[in-house]
């Protein structure tokens, strides 16, 4: 399978390389940009990144498997990340995640990320999102939401078109 990077993205990536004395340093920023564009990081994307940064594919693969934010398969159009850690748990994040799962027909007893059949939503637990004072907190794609009640959760789901 061929892997092509649009000209615009490649220009952006080339610029990123100039930020560092060593090309390898740009790896994480590369993977972020690729994931944002393609939705996930394919083996071909890893090979392409490795070549671009003068690395072996394993040097990129080990990053994708180490850093929790990177994913190797396409998830839902809207990714709902519910904070699981203590302050949010005390603020009701488990019940909130259950609510999301129920609303979307997912199995709340499963801990790992789950995607709805139509590919629209993925719900998962993540670790501390550093906003413990406004628990429970949720990220939907790049948007951050604080003090999410069940009612607010429904509103947020309604906004996902």
């Amino acid at each position: 399978m061929s892997f092509t990077v649009p000209k615009e993205l490649e220009t952006e990536l080339d610029e990123l390389i100039t930020h560092y004395p060593q090309k390898r340093s740009a790896s994480l920023m590369f993977l972020h940009a690729i994931q944002e564009h393609f939705g996930f990081i394919s083996p071909e994307a890893m090979e392409w990144t490795a070549k671009k940064l003068e690395l072996q594919p394993i040097n990129v693969y080990e990053l994708v498997t180490f850093y929790p934010m990177f994913r190797t398969e396409k998830l839902g159009k809207y990714q709902i990340k519910v904070c699981r850690t203590l302050s949010c748990a005390l603020g009701g994040s488990h019940a909130l995640r259950d609510h999301f799962c129920q609303k979307l027909g997912l199995d709340s007893t499963k801990h790992e990320p789950q995607t709805t059949k139509d590919g629209k939503f993925t719900v998962e637990f993540v670790e501390c999102l550093a906003s413990c004072g406004t628990a429970p907190v949720v990220m939907i794609n790049e948007d951050f939401h604080e003090g999410v009640s069940n009612q607010k959760a429904d509103e947020l789901l309604g906004r996902c078109k």
Binding site: H19, Y20, P21, Q22, R24, S25, A26, S27, L28, M29, L31, H32, L53, L55, N59, E62, L63, F66, Y67, P68, M69, F70, R84, T85, L86, S87, A89, L90, H94, R97, D98, S108, T109, K110, H111, F125, V126, E127, C128, L129, A130, S131, C132, G133, T134, A135, M139, E142, F144
Partner: protein
């Protein structure tokens, strides 16, 4: 003294205050940078000369500023360790990987007053002859990264960054670098590995002290967001004025994050040591007390890695009496001044300045189970005791919090934790062991009772059936 003292967050929450350059300039922004760059060479009594850079470094040391990220180490001393004779470039990295559970203070600076961080950083870079610096921001703050990028671009446009800054002959570039969801990147050598494009496996010290062998094996300074923001104020006020804030050896202000089961969770900037833990939790101006009808059970005083305090716990603190003699004073946990030294004397730490409050409606076993799951998820996997131990503790606690405890679990947990601490490359070993050690030791009766009750309940149904039940049970605590 129960009130906020807003120095770093002075403008952040004011109506109309934005993250724009113009707004920052209207509020006197970049004045400290101009002052720093224009400092004349100082003649010392012994005939030697002190450069502007040396003066700033000396000032930061004299201010008593201690790192706000977790360890509370003297910032000036950290800077003084930098190898300036190696001939290699010196790097500075701002640690904006805020991810210690309970902590949400750097977020306020980054999202509401980014130029303050940028200014503090430029001054710190100037003082340490740094020409290339990075802000390592956690991946889950995409907006924060965008805000900082814009702030840096605007600073470049005004020549606060780039070549020959404001005609001083000093060059500096700062770039934003995003993490990707790994807590271990907050550990400074792990952060450096990550910035080099590798897995964030912390490096062993010695020999890899960042001040000597840091980024690309060059001398490197890693400072927390709040610490760098404080540098700006030290330059503006002068070290003597800054050191008047707070208490001796615990100078300046600190942004304390209060979360968990309080009425008004939030962040509060206070003079270090001028408010007690009790005030921060109960006072109307801070946490506002517990929810109605609840009693205090425990608090985690300095981020999830710090050792827990049990309600009613008493500590002996060394205090200087009126006659100058040191005497031991008994202090209730709630009356501990919230500073670096008092919490250390009480056997814990103020860490990242994050208080998590737990009331009596909460099962303490499930609280520890929640934290242990965090550490099991975040262990980088490099050192065996931590990689395996954090998972064992998590499994045992998960089992306990799902009705399958055993009487001996308390001692089992303690045994694992004791075999992790001190046996790992980085402080994560302690970070995952300390909560277990302190929770189980201080609430041992509850852990044992839980195990005994579960055993009685499950009597006769032991063996594989139970294990299968556990495997099928939801992991949600």
């Amino acid at each position: 003294m129960s009130q906020e003292y807003r120095l770093i967050l002075k403008n952040a929450d004011q109506p109309g205050y934005t993250t724009d350059m113009d707004c920052y300039l209207r509020h006197g922004g970049y004045g400290a940078l101009k002052k720093a760059l224009a400092l004349p060479v100082k003649d010392l009594p012994d005939g030697k000369k002190m450069t502007a850079q040396e003066q700033i470094r000396e000032d930061v040391k004299a201010s008593g500023l201690r790192g706000r990220g977790g360890a509370g180490f003297s910032c000036g001393l950290k800077w003084s360790f930098v190898d300036r004779k190696s001939g290699k470039p010196i790097y500075l990295i701002c640690n904006a990987d805020e991810s210690e559970p309970g902590t949400f203070k750097d977020r306020q600076i980054i999202y509401k007053d980014p130029h303050q961080l940028v200014e503090g950083m430029i001054i710190s870079c100037f003082a340490n002859d740094v020409h290339l610096a990075y802000i390592y921001i956690r991946g889950e703050m995409p907006d924060g990264a965008r805000i900082l990028k814009k702030a840096l671009a605007d600073a470049r446009a005004k020549n606060f960054l780039g070549k020959n800054i404001l005609g001083s002959g000093y060059d500096l570039e700062i770039y934003v670098h995003r993490g990707a969801g790994a807590y271990i990147c907050g550990e400074e050598t792990g952060l450096i590995e990550s910035l080099e494009g590798k897995r964030a496996y912390p490096r062993i010290k010695p020999p890899y002290f960042p001040a000597v062998l840091g980024l690309y094996m060059c001398p490197t300074i890693v400072n927390n967001v709040e610490t760098l923001a404080a540098v700006k104020h030290i330059v503006t006020m002068g070290s003597a004025e800054y050191a008047k804030l707070g208490t001796p050896n615990n100078t300046g202000t600190r942004i304390v994050s209060v979360s968990g089961q309080v009425k008004k969770p939030g962040y509060f900037e206070v003079e270090v040591g001028k408010a007690t833990i009790g005030e921060l939790i109960f006072h109307e101006k801070f946490g506002g007390g517990l929810k109605d009808g609840r009693k205090l059970k425990a608090i985690i005083p300095g981020g999830s890695s710090s050792k827990v305090f049990k309600a009613g716990e008493k500590f002996k603190l060394k205090r200087k009496g009126a006659d100058g003699q040191m005497t031991a004073v008994e202090v209730d946990m709630l009356d501990l001044p919230y500073d670096f030294d008092s919490l250390q004397q009480a056997g814990s730490m103020s860490g990242s300045g994050a208080i998590i409050v737990v009331d009596d409606s909460t099962d303490i076993v499930s609280v520890l189970a929640n934290l242990s799951e965090f550490y099991a998820h975040e262990s980088c996997g490099q050192c065996t005791p931590c990689r395996e131990g954090s998972l064992w503790m998590n499994k045992a606690l998960h089992r306990m919090s799902h009705g399958h405890g055993r009487k001996q679990d308390a001692d089992y947990l303690l045994n694992i934790a004791q075999n992790i601490q001190g046996r790992t490359i980085c402080a994560f070993g302690e970070a995952c062991a300390w909560p277990v050690l302190s929770f189980v030791n201080k609430f041992k009766d509850e852990f044992v009772a839980k195990g005994a009750a579960d055993e009685a309940k499950n009597h006769g149904g032991a063996g594989p059936t139970n294990e299968m039940k556990i495997a099928a049970s939801p992991r949600a605590d």
